[in-house]
């Protein structure tokens, strides 16, 4: 698909595709005159380079899906900017430019049962994407291209799948259609919002492998959003951990897993069920205040649950600081 684009070796530092700078999104709670705001995302910085899979990990309500929707321009940021190949998205207002961006940075959704319209055949989304983003193709070309794309996401024979209705496919197959829709736009970066969390365990790996294959064969980058740290480790190069709308820690996957610096990352890792490891989590560690994201004010948002919290944590919001090579955490205490 993107054969004309040279695949950069990952060791070389390349220009980022997408960069978020202090990305912030608040939602007003209650009526239009309300003064209360939900801080869904606060001051998030992130960089995604070519040929890279970045995992954004967090629990529900951590703001990870909001980040994906900000990057996909579903929401407008309250503050901060998103830079695509050196250009701020805020300056790209013409329909042509917006379409161009939508094609290069498409999104794959969480719910395989909700992301396909039940009234159309599954070819609908793929065909619409081809029509919108590659108007030079004839109807015949589109048909050919759709079949090629379906093959590349592992749906064989493609013409049979294209003429089916969503309810005739399994969850895993539907999710592959979701990826096919994204691929039809010839993307550089796919925003994948929990693409496997609603799939059966036995077919999850297949979809994760598909992401890895697409990166290897077509050089496509991914922002993989998930609550499952083990699957993040399985596919991703870098890991970003979010808590209550802020980034807690980020770094190379293996380094973060081997040396988790932020107390939240440590808690998260200890909670991952692993049949081969002993349990290391006290039963009552969850019975604490849920994170306050409505007008949270200054201070670390994890302090209510943090065993190492000091006075400074409630007064000053910790900033990201490097603790190991390419590995940062937002914590006053961590070393």
């Amino acid at each position: 698909m993107a054969t004309e684009r040279a695949v950069a070796p990952s060791a070389v530092r390349t220009e980022p595709i997408l960069e978020a700078r202090s990305l912030t999104r608040h939602f007003r709670i209650g009526g239009p005159l309300s003064r209360r705001f939900l801080h869904a995302v606060d001051d998030v910085d992130l960089v995604i380079r070519p040929n890279e899979i970045v995992a954004l990990v967090g629990e529900s309500g951590s703001g990870k899906s909001t980040v994906a929707r900000l990057l996909a321009r579903v929401y407008r940021p309250t503050r901060g900017e998103i830079v695509y190949h050196g250009r701020s998205l805020a300056t790209m207002t013409a329909r042509k430019e917006r379409l161009g961006y939508a094609a290069r940075v498409p999104m794959v959704f969480q719910d395989p049962y909700g992301s396909l319209s039940p009234v159309y055949r599954v070819s609908h989304g793929v065909m619409r994407a081809l029509k919108l983003h590659r108007p030079e193709l004839t109807a015949n070309d589109r048909e050919q291209e759709a079949q090629r794309i379906l093959k590349s996401v592992g749906l064989q024979p493609p013409h049979e799948f294209l003429s089916k209705y969503p309810h005739q496919l399994s969850g895993g197959q539907r999710q592959r259609i979701g990826f096919a829709q994204a691929l039809a736009c010839r993307p550089e970066l796919i925003l994948a919002d929990e693409p496997v969390s609603m799939l059966d365990v036995s077919v999850r790996i297949g979809v994760l492998n598909l992401m890895a294959d697409l990166r290897r064969n077509e050089g496509i980058s991914f922002l993989y959003i998930t609550h499952d740290i083990a699957s993040a480790r399985y596919v991703a190069d870098r890991l970003i951990v979010m808590y209550a709308g802020r980034i807690a820690e980020s770094g190379p996957v293996e380094d973060v897993l081997a040396n988790p610096k932020h107390p939240y990352t440590q808690l998260l890792l200890s909670a991952v069920p692993d049949p081969r490891a002993p349990i290391s989590l006290p039963a009552t560690s969850e019975v604490a205040e849920p994170p306050r994201v409505i007008d949270p004010g200054e201070g670390c948002r994890f302090r209510y649950r943090c065993p190492y919290a000091i006075e400074r944590c409630s007064k000053e919001t910790p900033q990201m600081r490097p603790l190991r090579p390419a590995h940062e955490a937002a914590c006053h205490v961590a070393t």
Partner: protein
């Protein structure tokens, strides 16, 4: 095919249902299975046929004053004659045309307005929603009957067009409210978000993504509006707000009332158009229920197997 994965309550894992063919085929099949729908459709088809073939069915000119007044039913006049000596059966047959046409046209326009207002309000959200909602609310709370009478009396000379306009103006708001709430529940479905992210324009999304998913509700609303139109038109014509020279069941009632048909000993003059109105209304109502059941599985009657 895997069973639906739902994060919320699943009462019990429902077994997969695999239907072949499209949604239309499924809807058609469901309609054939529903007794309500079959009955309604048959009746509607009957009236449509009568309206269409009126010149062939009606034995006499419905306006012509050919006969003796107030004849009882006989072979020559199955329903007798009016006090002007017109054949009631011929009048009834010819009247089917206007009554049916009025119902369908008024129903269509009312539905069109409710779709435009309801779906746009839900999909566009924000300020648009507030304004359109306010608009709908105003029409919802206006007392319909007085408004209808005032408007119809004010524009008396307009005939059928005014009648349709009055019915549309007073009849769209209920459907708009229903459509808005269903569109709201669709609004956050991921396939709409997928279309937005793909770069589709709002108009495309409303027409090609939102509306096809609401077909059965839209049809149900049309049927409801048509039912309302049948009754409202009959009512307005009965109190003399239509054009009395038109041929419709409502005007028949108007003339029957004006000439004291019941006192004059010709109950059929009143009963025949009355029953027709009731039957046409029932046809629309039954179809409406059937489509409601289609779009809302919770309303479907549960058929239990005896254990």
């Amino acid at each position: 095919m895997a069973v639906r994965v739902v994060t919320d309550a699943v009462p019990a894992e429902a077994p997969p249902v695999s239907t072949r063919g499209g949604v239309l085929a499924a809807v058609g099949l469901a309609l054939l299975r529903s007794r309500k729908a079959t009955f309604g459709l048959t009746m509607l088809a009957f009236f449509a046929l009568v309206g269409l073939l009126a010149p062939l069915i009606a034995p006499y000119d419905p306006h012509a004053l050919l006969f003796d007044p107030i004849l009882g039913p006989s072979l020559a006049h199955p329903l007798g004659t009016t006090s002007f000596g017109q054949d009631i059966f011929s009048q009834l047959v010819w009247s089917t045309r206007q009554s049916l046409l009025l119902a369908i046209v008024a129903g269509l326009f009312a539905t069109l307005i409710s779709v435009i207002v309801g779906v746009s309000a839900a999909y566009l959200g924000g300020l648009w929603d507030h304004v359109l909602n306010l608009f709908t609310d105003v029409f919802l709370v206006i007392p319909t009957l007085p408004l209808m009478i005032v408007v119809a009396a004010y524009a008396k000379s307009g005939g059928v067009v005014v009648l349709i306009a009055v019915i549309v103006i007073t009849g769209w708001s209920y459907g708009a409210r229903q459509l808005r709430s269903q569109a709201l529940s669709l609004r956050n479905r991921e396939f709409l978000e997928a279309a937005r992210v793909r770069g589709e324009r709002s108009l495309y999304i409303i027409v090609f993504e939102v509306m096809p998913n609401m077909t059965s509700l839209i049809v149900a609303i049309f049927l409801g509006a048509a039912l309302y139109a049948v009754l409202a038109a009959a009512g307005l014509q009965f109190i003399g707000l239509g054009d009395p020279n038109d041929l419709s069941w409502g005007t028949m009632l108007y003339w029957a009332q004006a000439n004291g048909a019941l006192l004059a000993g010709s109950p059929i003059w009143v009963l025949a158009p009355g029953i027709c109105i009731a039957l046409l209304g029932a046809a629309f109502a039954l179809l409406n229920y059937a489509f409601d059941e289609l779009s809302n599985p919770a309303l479907r009657p549960v058929r239990r197997r005896k254990s």
